[in-house]
């Protein structure tokens, strides 16, 4: 029987505010509850949302009153969160504190206090940061402070992992890459059979240990009919993004007139709002493209699918992106994806679903032209995309992989299994001088970090000449506050909250998420080949 944990997700960003991090936390928590864990969420109070709330599945949300300064990020007070946090943690008997988003000061504070209280901590990084400008330098220093004493870090893509390792000077082995996921059932293409609640077992191989049957997911009778595109049928290109500079709206504005001029039977649908929308509108008016570019304005996340299925191509001109959930959603809706090759985007989708472009106007126009030509030749089997995306990403799989991280940091799986066999031997022999020095600061078992104050101080001290000493002072003060709180509000006087009845862990045999096998890709290529000959 695998151990179950009581987990507190801490982040500034949560519902009712919409966004990617918010839905990530919600979906992950739900799936973890399904796997038998207890999950609570701690966020700050939103307007109209205060106190304690219950969401579906018994997910408890604490809205802590806090001063919000900028874009719903709270004011970074290093210690003020501690009393409330300690109360919640003791009340809910939390084992693991899982913080999200590097811009959330609530999360950083929670990680610091949790380590002081002797809890395991995990941090998930959702975004990429540069190193050049002054704001990044400050953010990175703060991140280093928060992550000096974290047990494990989760990143959403390999690029994000590299970035986080560099920013916070982490050991790469304590950083896991667990991608985001999509709820594929919410992003079905048009005309897709709606038997979603229990997909027939013919789609998935029944036991995950077995070698996959390549034909199982692709040749099932449920695949929708092919969409054959005639030579004069209109092709619709969909763009859904907030219209900001870093989303590449300038590229889009420059590329649209050229794409439309080069390809007569094409039109654009643009959804989203932002400061750059005025540029787009100006471009439309200057080039008189009102009948070929449709601007929908801001749309809700639930309407994204309805917009996407109106198109054939999804264009994503972003300039930086840690994961790019939206292109997965687009592929799940059966759209051919044209995207810029930045950040973590190249890792997200296989080559047969995407056309990559450099973040240049010319290249973007050329890539879109290539995509349009491929669609016109009916080379791309977009109707198969949904099933494949379903096999690539699922929240159940994300929760499963996150659970392995929890097991690793709490010692449920051995350090050797979690970090690799070679390390232990290395450590015992002491053959590598520099490395034993590193492990000394992490305690005897690097998977299970020592809670002793002196060990923690050693980790913080290495943060920098001045910063290291400052951080050490902060940690000592935090510890003193902890002792003070133990005196003034003793543990015995804090009520224990009764748990919501735990779920039995469902053994899900469906082969969803976790990635595509190479065989599936080969199968796809084999099946799309005859159309090319035609």
């Amino acid at each position: 029987m695998a151990p179950t944990y009581r987990i507190a997700m801490v982040c500034d960003f949560f519902f009712p505010q919409p966004g990617g991090i918010e839905s990530h936390i919600y979906q992950l928590s739900t799936k973890l509850i399904d796997r038998g864990h207890k999950v609570i969420i701690i966020t700050h109070a939103y307007e109209g949302r205060t106190g304690v709330r219950y969401l579906t599945n018994g997910l408890k949300v604490y809205h802590v009153p806090f001063l919000v300064i900028y874009r719903s990020a709270t004011f970074p007070t290093v210690f003020s969160f501690f009393p409330v946090f300690r109360n919640i943690v003791l009340r809910e008997r939390i084992d693991i504190v899982h913080g999200h988003a590097s811009l959330s000061s609530l999360c950083h504070e929670a990680i610091l206090h949790a380590r002081t209280m002797g809890l395991r901590t995990v941090f998930t990084d959702h975004s990429l940061f540069g190193f050049a400008d002054a704001a990044s330098i400050l953010t990175n220093k703060l991140l280093k402070f928060a992550l000096s004493d974290v047990d494990h870090v989760i990143c959403v893509s390999h690029t994000c992992k590299e970035n986080t390792v560099l920013r916070a000077s982490l050991d790469p082995l304590m950083v896991s890459v667990i991608p985001n996921a999509v709820v594929a059932d919410n992003f079905r293409p048009l005309g897709y059979p709606t038997t979603t609640t229990t997909p027939p077992s013919s789609i998935s191989s029944p036991i995950p240990g077995l070698p996959p049957n390549p034909s199982s997911s692709l040749t099932s009778s449920l695949t929708p009919p092919r969409r054959i595109l005639g030579p004069h049928d209109p092709i619709t290109i969909v763009v859904i993004s907030r219209l900001f500079y870093n989303k590449g709206t300038d590229l889009l504005t420059a590329a649209i007139p050229r794409i439309l001029a080069a390809h007569p039977n094409t039109r654009f649908i643009i959804a989203g709002s932002g400061p750059k929308s005025i540029d787009l509108e100006q471009m439309i008016e200057q080039n008189v493209l009102q009948d070929r570019v449709e601007m929908l304005g801001p749309i809700r996340h639930s309407e994204v699918r309805d917009v996407m299925v109106r198109g054939h191509i999804y264009l994503h001109p972003s300039l930086t992106e840690a994961f790019g959930t939206v292109i997965v959603e687009a592929a799940s809706c059966g759209l051919y994806v044209v995207c810029t090759q930045v950040g973590g985007i190249p890792e997200v989708l296989p080559g047969h679903m995407t056309v990559f472009a450099k973040p240049e106007e010319d290249d973007l126009v050329a890539a879109t032209g290539k995509a349009i030509a491929a669609l016109r030749r009916n080379e791309v089997r977009t109707e198969l995309f949904h099933e494949q995306v379903k096999n690539m990403y699922s929240w159940t799989n994300v929760a499963e992989r996150t659970e392995r991280v929890y097991n690793g940091i709490s010692g449920a799986i051995s350090e050797a299994e979690f970090y690799g066999y070679d390390h232990l031997k290395d450590h015992r022999n002491g053959s590598n001088g520099s490395w034993t020095a590193v492990t000394a600061t992490r305690g005897m078992r690097s998977g299970v970090q020592s809670f002793a104050l002196i060990d923690r101080l050693k980790r913080y001290y290495g943060c920098g000449v001045w910063a290291g000493k400052l951080f050490c002072v902060c940690v000592i003060i935090d510890y003193l506050i902890f002792l003070f709180l133990e005196l003034v509000f003793p543990r015995e006087s804090i009520d224990i909250c009764p748990d919501w009845p735990r779920k039995k862990k469902v053994v899900d045999t469906r082969r969803e998420g976790g990635g595509l096998e190479w065989g599936d890709v080969e199968e796809y290529r084999r099946r799309s080949r005859p159309s090319r000959l035609r």
Binding site: L349, H423, S434, L516
Partner: protein
Amino acid sequence: MAPPSGLHQTALSSDFETPFPPLVRSSTAPVAFKSHRADPSHLAPEDAYSPVSPPRRTSLYNLRPRLIRRKEGSRSRSRRRQRRFQKLLWVKQSYPDNYTDQATFLEKLQRNPRVKPYDFWPLVADSTVIVQQVCSVIIFVVCFVGIFQERVSPVSVVGFGSFATFIGWLLWDWWVAEESLGAQRAMDGTTHSHRGRDPRPVRRQDSLGGPTRNASIVSLPGAGAGAGTGAATPTPASALPSTAPSPRLDQHLHIPRFSIGPTDSRSASIEPSTAAASPAGSRAQSVADFHEAHYGHHRQRSSISSPIRGGGVLPGNSRLQLRLSTIKSAVLIYFTLLGLSPILKSLTRSTSSDSIWAISFWLLAINIFFFDYSINNNPFTQATITNPHSNQTGAQHKFPIASLSTNAALMASTVLASRLPSTGQVFSLTLFSIEVFGLFPVFRRYARHRSFRYHVILTVLLLLGAGAGVGIIIGAPWVCECWQTWLKHSLLGMIVSCLIAAVAMGGCSWWLIGLQKYKNEIYGPWDPARPIIISRRYYDDE
């Protein structure tokens, strides 16, 4: 990152090669960094000059016994071979999530890719601009001290200053006329030249015919306003609705317009400060006009809203008009200051002197620190390279800094002048400050633009003057009749100032070059990409 190449047959065949080594702790240990440099957080000195990515950590794992890690029940075992690790999220990896692949981890990391190493002598040459400004401020302070201690008669100071200004103006006017002539000739020669040509083709032509990234510059003939007025303004066609159809006529028509009615950042910067000194609005306007006429030569953007007075007049005629209006403005300033001097004299009577010294020190420091030292000494280059849009944004960034500097200096002079006892002294100092802080930088900039030799001569003169002044003020006794003492002290001051300047310029340049080894810029795929947009109409830097 390349699109997944595993789809290709070649990549598939490579999968049958030796499997990649398993998860090995030592493989990710920061050993390799320590092996060849002492401190991994700093770059070694050679990195500053050979900007390459750090060496890849290879072949470390060969030293360790291999231990193939097997995951029970994983599909990889049934396939009996481990796929090569790839940085892909959509594929089913047979590696744990925290696996760190040695070959691909941080492979896109670049260190210091865009670092241009400095050279010593160009750096020293560039630092002369700062020396000039510092010396100007020192000379001003010396003059004030001289007037304040009544060693120098204020009339001689302002007389000398005005005379120098007049000479400078004549010189400037002559240069402008010369270039205008050259530009006309070049324009007559080539109708569709992008830029006004210059009779002296050395070094300038490169920059003139330099990379015009902007399509709108090339397509717009009106932008080729000449070097004659110094107004090379790439104007977007939309901003000039009155552009005449004939390109040549257009050029002729627009030259005076650019020369007389530009809204320059500098002229705008002068305007509020002078207006602060003289509440009379119309006079401030005339002062501004005067400055426009003087400042009109560098980095202008045409503005339709600015008063167009010389439009439609041929260059020769407009030159005369320009001179007349300049003289008119000078006279107006003169009398404005004369009228204002009694007011300024008693402005800060209730404030104690040491506050005034402190305030003026800080204001002059602000002037030095925020002065516009931009090295780009060719106004045409600036106009050519920057496209209209970024020109505007650049001006938005630059505008407050340049005006802050000039305003601070004029404020300092006003405050200092209010310490002086007589109206004549106040008037002299204020006028002198306008000449030093308002007009002289323009002349210096233009001299630097004309020839580097003028620039050096000017620097040396300023340096010697400042040194001599400081030497006399500090060294010589209160009122000394014997001119030998003065000469001795001024010579001593010159030598000391030259020594200090040499040490400071050389030392700072050397120090800056030495500091380059700490440069550690990290670039990678996580940085926001810089979009390359050809039709840059909509591109905004932010």
